[in-house]
């Protein structure tokens, strides 16, 4: 089977990989690049566990082909902290106990960061609707929403 040679940027690093046409970006990240922080919960774009950004756009990596990543810049959970400094969202999730099993957490953090980049002062309702594509079965979302609102507050310096 002919494999495609793809060059892209992942969390700021140049990467190259080979993939089959039907391999998704999620499979490439996890199986070829060994970046297993991005999770598969459904494979059909319904749970958001595989959320990453491609050229700044929030997407489900299970609905993107690896070959489509050619020349693109991809951000995953592994690139969210800078050195020893956690992103404020990561810190607030810990402080607010906004995670339990944690399988949905990487996707929710990536989605929440993308929200706060566009809207630094979201309402509770805006947070809930923005995160509607990220299923969490443990928390009932209560502490997740609190953590995002608190992180927004901190990032605004309010």
């Amino acid at each position: 089977m002919a494999r495609h040679h793809v060059t892209a940027t992942v969390n700021g690093d140049a990467v190259e990989f080979l993939c089959e046409t039907q391999q998704t970006l999620l499979e490439v990240l996890r199986d070829e690049l060994r970046l297993t922080g991005t999770k598969e919960g459904c494979g059909t774009g319904d749970c958001g566990a595989c959320t990453v950004t491609v050229d700044g756009r929030l997407v489900c990596s299970c609905l993107v082909l690896g070959v489509e990543a050619e020349g693109k810049s991809i951000q995953t959970i592994e690139g969210m902290a800078t050195g020893k400094d956690l992103h404020p969202l990561q810190r607030k999730f810990l402080e607010h106990a906004a995670l339990q099993c944690g399988i949905c957490t990487p996707g929710i953090l990536i989605a929440a960061r993308s929200l706060l980049e566009r809207n630094p002062d979201p309402t509770e309702e805006e947070v809930r609707f923005w995160l509607a594509g990220n299923l969490c079965r443990c928390t009932g979302y209560h502490k997740v929403v609190e953590a995002v609102l608190d992180a927004a507050r901190e990032l605004r310096g309010a």
């Binding site: 495609h4 089959e20 046409t21 039907q22 998704t24 494979g43 059909t44 774009g45 319904d46 958001g48 959320t51 491609v54 756009r57 929030l58 997407v59 489900c60 299970c62 609905l63 993107v64 082909l65 070959v67 489509e68 989605a111 993308s114 609707f129 923005w130 509607a132 594509g133 990220n134």
Partner: protein, 287 residues
């Protein structure tokens, strides 16, 4: 499985008409990849059209907008001028899937996937959107309502592509709206969808109206009988009652896991009425 990413419409059409076996256009891929993963289709060729400029841009055209068929839903939702002119179409696009899905999904895909429940399609039908189609025989324009012919079926030839949509210039005091009913607030497929587009005259009477319904028949459809109930009226309670009745009367739904016939027929009227109320309010706001 071959993957091609042509840079021109001509090249894309040539690829599609050239291939013997099954070929698929890859736009957002939010439906295509799921069908491939489930093994429902095994195309020989994927034609990724996101590298084609006229299919991925939003440009002004005779006071209206020409929207590339491969423009992502998020790009369109974030286009403030478009949202001001066509808030109802924006409503429909905004309701497609999650933020993540909208980051990939396109109006062209939403139309050509031909799901009876596609959210942007009734909104575009109500808006009078015209699709521009290119094939080996050249280019043609067709109103959106002429494209879906059944679940997963369209009037397009196998080597034709929808490249863009024209949303025409707005008359003054016009407003449109799209509403759908789903059990959840998000992440759901419309059980019923309704798009309403209307224009008010000087005396506040409705001079033009278009009403379209989704998920209540084998494909999304215009309902002229429902629109007729608004034209010439001040869109008052009586007119809205008649609109709701006409909308329900036009339904020919099925029972499925997402809703029953009886439920869809009843709720189609309710949703059409609520959409009309929003459209009216938006039209009123415009000078």
């Amino acid at each position: 499985m071959r993957y091609e990413a042509p840079k021109t419409v001509a090249a894309a059409v040539a690829l599609l008409s050239g291939v013997k076996g099954q070929a698929r256009v890859l736009a957002g891929g939010t439906d295509l990849l799921i069908q491939m993963r489930a093994g429902r289709i095994e195309p020989e060729l994927l034609v990724d059209i996101k590298g084609i400029p006229e299919m991925t841009s939003i440009v002004a055209e005779d006071g209206g907008f020409r929207v590339g068929a491969a423009v992502t839903c998020m790009e369109l939702v974030e286009h403030t001028a478009f949202a001001r002119a066509w808030p109802g179409v924006t409503d429909g696009v905004r309701l497609i899937g999650s933020i993540q899905v909208k980051g990939r999904a396109t109006m062209g895909g939403n139309l050509c996937n031909a799901s009876p429940a596609a959210d942007s399609v009734p909104a575009m039908m109500a808006a009078g959107a015209v699709a521009r189609i290119v094939g080996p025989k050249g280019m043609r324009d067709a109103p959106v309502e002429n494209i879906p012919t059944g679940p997963g079926r369209t009037s397009l030839a196998r080597d034709e592509i929808v490249i863009s949509f024209l949303l025409p210039r707005r008359a003054p005091r016009s407003g449109d709206a799209y509403l759908r009913f789903t059990p959840r607030t998000e992440m759901d497929i419309a059980v019923v969808g309704a798009g309403v587009n209307l224009t008010l005259g000087d005396e506040g009477l409705c001079t033009q109206a278009r009403v379209a319904l989704g998920a209540v028949a084998e494909h999304a459809m215009l309902v002229p009988d429902a629109a007729a109930m608004l034209i010439g009226t001040s869109v008052d309670t009586a007119a809205l009652d008649r609109l709701a009745a006409a909308a329900s009367a036009a339904c020919r739904p099925i029972d499925d896991k997402r809703g029953t016939k009886a439920f869809r027929i009843k709720v189609a009227g309710v949703i059409a009425r609520r959409a009309a109320e929003i459209a009216l309010q938006r039209a009123g706001r415009q000078g």
